[in-house]
Symmetry: C2
Subunit: 191 residues, 2 copies
DNA sequence: TGTAGCATGTAAGCCGTTACATGATTGA
DNA sequence: TCAATCATGTAACGGCTTACATGCTACA
């Protein structure tokens, strides 16, 4: 099992990584964890993909399933990271380069085409985006709050998740400032 | 032709939009334009996708091809936006909501898994990212420079592209600041 | 009793990429 | 004459989504 290093897509490693952050999880729980964390700076795979990804990782021997031995047809199936799973993950982390982030920004795209719609609509677009941004930020803030404070030994494991959450919060904050300015520029005409 | 409003993916509208920004383009030129602009906040489709997308848009009657009437097998084929193309685009802009941006951030993902690698590597990851960021920013700055200054009537058409480019520059700037801070926090331990 | 959440999957299909194939034109 | 650039596509395939199917458990 295993073998071909790093022939897996990033999402596989992301899921593998989530498995190192806590204990054994069911596919369902893994999806929930992805929704809580991964979603903000990667993307949370669909439920069905979580299951097929898990199946593939198991095939490669990177995770192992422990069936809940209570007879019913298919009850709960818990996955844990195996030794070679951890090995594959660290190998990926240290022997491959991180790619540059990819941004798909529908709001920026639409702003680019501002000459096709009336100014009111453009302003509405940006203001609406500010609203979504605030919502998102609040969601991430909740996650951040649950990770404890720096120096708190009870949450030492959360050190990196905390850094990443702070990153996200700062990003949302700066996005807010930028869009505020864009709105002002648009209102003041000229550009 | 045309018919089913808004059953096209965003990328189609993005390409359609690029066609409103200037004159008729060949697939090749359209790809170049995407590389100059779209790439920074959406994604520049592969050459092959540009051609197949163009074929589909033509099928829907949203663009029209004008073959270069110089006999050779297949020389240059220029596409222009049709009336219903423009109509479809404005309809899409004004009757559908902009989705929240999607970010795929390999660097943040790896930082999350910082507990699996040694601190030096994490720092290297972030510093390397700062380098890529500076490069990217310089590229975008060049694009921005070519769009002229606010109030310059010679570049009035560039108003929105300019706003979007400024947005991107500010974004890269804030990303830089944030990562600088993260590096400091990591060096100072604790956090 | 029925709805929401837990739990696991299969099937179909689109978006988009890489690899491959082909050929003309321009300039070193 | 050879490489780079212009120019257009086809084929294969991977990632990921939506829609669909199934069934249990807890609780209102």
């Amino acid at each position: 099992m295993s073998q071909d290093l790093s022939e897996l897509p990033t999402t596989s490693y992301a899921l593998l990584g989530l498995l190192t952050l806590g204990d054994d999880l069911t596919g369902y729980e893994l999806k929930q964890r992805a929704d809580r964390t991964l979603r903000f700076y990667w993307s949370s795979p669909a439920m069905s993909q979580v299951y097929s990804e898990l199946a593939r990782l198991a095939q490669h021997g990177l995770v192992a399933a422990r069936d809940d031995e209570t007879e019913p047809v298919r009850r709960s199936r818990r996955y844990r990271l195996t030794g070679s799973g951890r090995q594959a993950l660290t190998a990926w982390l240290s022997s491959t380069e991180a790619e540059f982030p990819t941004l798909k920004h529908p709001v920026a795209l639409r702003l680019l085409l501002g000459h096709l719609i009336d100014p009111e609509q453009t302003l509405h677009l940006l203001e609406n985006y500010l609203g979504q941004l605030a919502e998102r930020r609040a969601e991430l803030q909740q996650v951040r709050d649950s990770l404890g404070e720096a120096g708190d030994p009870a949450h030492a494991t959360h050190r990196f998740p905390r850094l990443v959450a702070d990153w996200g919060l700062d990003y949302y904050g700066s996005e807010r400032t930028i869009v505020d300015d864009l709105i002002t520029r648009l209102r003041n005409g000229v550009t």
